[in-house]
């Protein structure tokens, strides 16, 4: 199915999935960097962030070209499998949060906890090793998930450029928003975004792994929208069912 601007319908799902996944992860990383920067000074926080971004770029540089050379069917099964696991994990977490069985991800709380942790340690220096490590870890760990999403979706659809562009736009917008707002982005509807990404990753995972295993989907690319509708309806139904049956207990992991 082709859209008016010359993009395939699968490209649209790809752009939205990568953009939202990157935005969610970057908001989490930005919260940590802001907490480190305001508590321990910006120099080491920026250095940690920069080194983490260089390492993530190196990962893309190493694994990107390698992935493209893998035979297409094997690549699709592998990528589809990774996306199924990732998508299921994201969707499960967002369903549990939406239904009240798991505590909501609270950027304000994470910011306060990080600041408190760093305040306790004290001993600031011009080059702060602790601030560097915290900023590096925050950006690198959140970024690895972005890298895997971009590489897998980009390589399997042979649209690496489009996936990278979508990720870059998300990175830029979240960065600009962070600078403008000057604090953690707690107003971002993170759980809703996570749920949409989970649905999209699962849809792509089902589509690509099926193609790699020899299934020819009814309606070809358009079947992606069928999966989005299926998993979206499942998520909605699961949230409603779990909300009705929620027990008063502590949040689960």
């Amino acid at each position: 199915m082709m859209l008016a601007v010359g993009l395939h319908s699968s490209d649209l799902v790809l752009v939205v999935a990568v953009f939202l996944a990157c935005s969610v992860e970057m908001v989490e990383a930005l919260t940590i960097v802001l907490a480190v920067g305001t508590t321990r000074g910006w120099r080491s926080a920026f250095e940690g962030t920069a080194v983490a971004l260089i390492c993530l770029g190196a990962l893309v540089g190493i694994f990107g070209p390698t992935l493209v050379r893998v035979p297409l069917d094997w690549l699709r099964v592998f990528v589809g499998g990774v996306l199924l696991v990732f998508g299921a994990q994201w969707l499960r977490k967002s369903i549990l949060r939406a239904s009240g069985l798991k505590a909501q991800h609270d950027e304000d709380e994470i910011f306060a906890e990080t600041v408190a942790e760093l305040d306790e340690i004290g001993n600031r220096a011009d080059r702060d090793r602790l601030a560097f490590v915290m900023a590096f870890k925050g950006v690198f760990l959140e970024g690895v998930e972005v890298v895997v999403t971009v590489l897998t979706l980009g390589a399997s659809s042979h649209r690496m450029g489009l996936a990278a562009l979508s990720a870059t736009v998300a990175l830029f917008l979240v960065g600009v928003a962070g600078v403008l707002v000057g604090r953690q982005l707690s107003e971002v509807p993170e759980n809703a975004m996570k749920m949409v990404v989970g649905v999209m990753l699962l849809s792509y995972g089902t589509f690509w792994s099926g193609e790699g295993l020899g299934i020819r989907w009814l309606g070809a690319d358009a079947m992606l929208f069928g999966f989005v509708a299926l998993y979206g309806a499942f998520a909605f139904g699961a949230v409603k069912t779990l909300q009705r049956n929620t027990y008063e207990g502590g949040p689960v992991r």
Binding site: V77, G80, G81, V82, L84, V85, A88, Q89, L91, R92, I95, L96, L101, K102, V144, L202, G205, T206, S209, G210, L213, G214, I215, R216, W217, L218, F227, L230, Y231, F234, A238, L242, N245, T246, Y247, G249, G250, P251, V252, R253
Partner: protein
């Protein structure tokens, strides 16, 4: 233990935690679904059945994982 071995073990732990995390049931379910659908589609030529089996398996695995999570709160 050499530095290389330590680094390799650390990397392996990171990879396992990254892909399996606290929901091993989802990882093993995805693997099971892919193997089953692969056998049905590639081995037995049951393409239409496989097209139903794959999304059905995903929904079932996710439902069971959610039920497991709900039981933990009881």
């Amino acid at each position: 233990m050499s530095v290389v071995m330590k680094a390799a073990k650390g990397f392996w732990r990171f990879v396992v935690d990254f892909f399996v995390g606290d929901t091993p049931e989802l990882f093993w379910s995805a693997l099971g679904i892919l193997v089953t659908v692969g056998v049905a589609s590639r081995g037995l030529g049951l393409h239409q059945l496989s097209a139903v089996l794959l999304p059905l398996g995903v929904v079932t695995a996710l439902s069971l994982s959610l039920l497991r999570a709900r039981r933990r709160t009881e």
